[in-house]
């Protein structure tokens, strides 16, 4: 019943919605960031804090991982510290670089410039120009260089200034990164982390708004994770660096300024596990990266309407955590996938197939997958908004699914 998805073409523009008390930070231009700090709460309420005084403690997000007893923020006794997502990434990276001298960073403008999204700011001064290497604009070659360095004992973190630029590195990522451990008969391991911001931003244009997870997902031998909160950003960064496998860490351009309180003590998350964002009974909503916030916004509306959605941030795009997902499906029997990937051949498509294959008997209704339109992201704000899944579409989809 794919028509369910097609029918959700009606979009209620956010700006005119009843939600004057929330506005996505994304609605503003980047220069507006300087006005204050935007705080995105776990239920996706957004408010602007003009002073730097932090928000109150009710912000603590119970990030209990449903399966293995993963570390939970709520269970820590220490107060933790607040930071933005890009700072969390930097903290994770810095801690790993201090811990292991073989960890190094390479990418365009990561050194002296501090990273175009400030993820590596200050690291070059601290660790030197060779450990935080400013590369020329040659993605294919410096990714390959990272792979060669990984094969000979280093643990590089390669930054793509924008994930879309990694299309130029596809040769190296597919042929070498993914395959060399196998074609060498297990002799060489490639503990590389390839990371960068992707996804649809604020009118960045078609080429800078790409979602590469769909292109990379078929490459055997790599793992893909997507972070969505400062807490999981730091945890996944550390896990990716410590992993012996090549890991591609997808960040999102619009999420870098999310603020959250994270534990002071060290923690590492599991690369293969999904995250239970909001337990529920009626429907399972699977999402990742930025769409998590759209889903949580929609969840607020849904709760008011009497629904009880279970929201899972799948985090691990390859491989899928079928245990967490499966348990959820067995409980709710209805699945909605909300993603920013393209309709065709995206993560949602694969996830739909995986769930149908494994949990067909538990489904009361066909899986609904909301993805971005198969359209090059337009520049115009109005058009761009219509290519991406909006909370109102999610609400409608859940209502139709739960009939």
């Amino acid at each position: 019943m794919a028509t369910l998805c097609q029918g959700l073409g009606v979009v209620i523009p956010l700006s005119s919605s009843n939600s004057s008390n929330f506005r996505l930070p994304s609605r503003r231009s980047i220069s507006a960031w300087k006005d204050g700090i935007f705080v995105v709460r776990s239920d996706a309420r957004v408010s602007q804090v003009l002073k730097t005084g932090g928000p109150n403690h009710e912000l603590l997000i119970p990030n209990a991982v449903a399966t293995k007893g993963g570390s939970s923020v709520a269970s820590t006794s220490k107060p933790g510290h607040e930071l933005l997502l890009f700072e969390a990434l930097r903290e994770g990276l810095e801690e790993e670089m201090e811990r292991d001298p073989c960890v190094c960073v390479m990418g365009e403008d990561v050194g002296h410039y501090g990273g175009s999204y400030k993820v590596t700011k200050g690291l070059a001064t601290k660790f030197g120009d060779l450990r935080v290497l400013d590369t020329p604009i040659a993605e294919n070659s410096f990714t390959g260089m990272g792979i060669g360095a990984a094969m000979t004992g280093l643990r590089p973190v390669v930054e793509g200034m924008n994930m879309g630029f990694l299309l130029l590195a596809f040769n190296q990522i597919s042929n070498n990164c993914g395959m060399l451990h196998y074609t060498s008969g297990g002799q060489f391991k490639i503990p590389i982390v390839i990371r960068g911001p992707g996804g649809v931003g604020r009118q960045l244009g078609a080429e800078h708004s790409q979602r590469l997870e769909s292109y990379f997902q078929s490459i055997p031998g790599i793992q893909m994770v997507a972070c969505s909160t400062p807490y999981n950003a730091k945890g996944l960064m550390k896990a990716a660096i410590r992993s012996e496998n090549p890991v591609i860490l997808f960040e999102h351009v619009l999420l870098y300024n999310l603020k959250e309180r994270i534990p002071d003590e060290e923690y590492v998350l599991s690369l293969e596990e999904a995250e239970m964002v909001r337990p529920g009974e009626h429907v399972t909503i699977l999402t990742y990266s930025r769409m998590r916030y759209h889903v949580m916004q929609a969840a607020k509306t849904l709760v008011n309407k009497g629904y009880d959605p279970e929201v899972i941030d799948i985090r691990s795009l390859k491989p899928f955590d079928l245990y967490t997902i499966g348990n959820s499906v067995k409980k709710t029997h209805r699945v909605l996938i909300v993603e920013e990937c393209m309709r065709t051949g995206g993560i949602g498509a694969s996830l739909t197939a995986a769930i149908t294959e494994n949990f067909h008997d538990y489904l009361d209704a066909p899986i609904v997958c909301l993805s971005s339109q198969d359209v090059p992201t337009p520049y115009a704000g109005t058009l761009e908004e219509w290519t991406v899944v909006q909370p109102a579409q999610i609400v409608t989809a859940v209502e139709q699914l739960c009939q």
Binding site: C104, P136, G148, S184, N245, P319, Y323
Partner: protein, 425 residues
């Protein structure tokens, strides 16, 4: 500041061999007999390695030395025998590969190295075990020269579990962690960044990890066709920029399958592309192992001292087709005959006998020994088992947790079907 030594190289005398923009008709054949070129330095030849990184033109150097005295030879007897044995191993091995291929023992794309042995032997025999070699799909002989046992390479070609890559790589993916052979790549130019990375590792160890005696050098071997690919230029830039300990060795055999180097390259003199990036570019006669060795010594020493990369263009030739599936109809028989007359093995043999470094008998003994080694390799490969089903999923991930968590909550790699190779992942 950057070594502009190549600026001192004059333009070669015979310019008329360059195809200057005039379109070649399909059947036109321009002889590219590069060996008659003379590269002369304006400045005097400096042989002291400490004083400068000037790399001399080799043909002059060899002639100089030969003119001085007959006792001032380029190699000792031991060195000569090592070189001879290595080249004969390469040739015999590749000939046996061809035989085995036509007998149906190996399949797919097999690219043989006959005729180019001087380059592999000339360079790789100068390396230490910790130095790395990165090659292309024409990698059997590079692996052999670096020290990978012939039986391991032959088993790999047969697709047996005892192969150097456990049968999972094949002809184009010869890897050896022990001997630092970092592939074996199927797409051209994709190995060059990996080689650059290995060189980066070496520099990193020395400067960041403070392993002061780490002076490992990486050699990247690739062909003339690769020199039109972006990754080549990107890596020349990065290697020169950071003075990485790498030597870029171009095995210019004039043909990329059926595409003549002259038909695909605007400026066919590849060595000139080095100075454009600030590194010395040298052209050497790749059919003469002693000349190659002289150049290689200088280039590898340069890299070891931390002075940066070198681009060495070896003019060489492959006696067989591009691969065993190539009918090799495009190349002019006259060209083939010309290079067959400059067979590097015969040349070294002649040199050693004429200079009384070895007797005919000693060389024949080596040839016999190699014959046995190669036959033993085939026997070993024949007797080795094929990879069992359980091997299917083992090396996809270094950490098999990467296959994820299954519906039952356990990691998929814990599933017994995983180790049997029958699990669906």
């Amino acid at each position: 500041m950057m070594s502009l030594s190549a600026a001192k190289f004059v333009e070669p005398l015979s310019l008329h061999h360059r195809s200057n923009g005039s379109p070649m008709s399909f059947n036109a054949f321009t002889p590219f007999l590069g060996s008659t070129r003379k590269l002369r330095l304006i400045a005097p030849i400096k042989l002291n390695p400490r004083s400068s990184s000037t790399v001399v033109s080799v043909s002059d150097l060899v002639k100089d030395q030969k003119r001085k005295s007959t006792t001032n030879l380029l190699i000792t007897k031991e060195e000569g025998l090592v070189l001879y044995e290595d080249m004969v191993l390469g040739r015999s091995f590749e000939d046996m590969c061809a035989q085995m291929y036509y007998r149906g023992k190996m399949f797919g794309f097999v690219h043989l190295y006959n005729g180019q042995e001087a380059v592999s032997t000339g360079f790789i025999k100068l390396l230490k075990k910790e130095d790395s070699v990165v090659s292309t799909y024409r990698d059997h002989v590079h692996a052999l020269s670096k020290g990978v046992p012939a039986r391991a390479v032959m088993s790999e070609l047969f697709g047996k579990a005892t192969g150097c890559s456990r049968g999972q790589g094949g002809s184009m993916h010869m890897f050896s962690k022990e001997h630092n052979v970092i592939g074996g790549f199927a797409f051209i130019a994709e190995g060059i960044p990996v080689a650059t990375g290995a060189a980066f590792s070496s520099k990193y160890r020395r400067e960041v990890l403070k392993e002061a005696d780490c002076d490992h050098v990486t050699l990247a071997f690739f062909g003339d066709g690769t020199c039109n690919n972006g990754q080549f230029y990107e890596c020349l830039n990065m290697a020169a920029l950071w003075k990485l300990p790498i030597v870029f060795v171009v095995e210019n055999n004039l043909w990329a399958i059926g595409m003549s180097h002259l038909r695909s390259t605007s400026d066919p003199q590849i060595w000139k592309k080095g100075p454009a990036f600030g590194m010395p570019g040298i052209h050497v006669d790749g059919m003469d192992v002693l000349k190659v060795r002289q150049v290689a010594k200088e280039a590898v020493d340069r890299a070891r001292r931390g002075e940066g990369p070198t681009l060495v263009e070896c003019e060489t030739y492959r006696f067989r087709g591009h691969s065993l599936a190539d009918p090799d109809e495009l190349r002019d028989p006259a060209e083939k005959a010309h290079y067959a007359g400059r067979d590097p093995i015969s040349a070294l043999k002649k040199y050693m006998i004429e200079n009384k470094l070895a007797s005919e008998q000693e060389l024949k003994t080596i040839e016999k020994k190699i014959e046995e080694v190669v036959e033993e390799a085939v026997e070993f490969a024949d007797a080795s088992p094929y990879p069992p089903r359980s091997q299917l999923l083992e090396n996809v991930f270094a950490d098999p947790k990467g296959f994820g968590i299954g519906p039952d909550g356990k990691y998929r790699c814990e599933d017994p079907k995983f180790t049997e190779g029958t699990a669906h992942v």
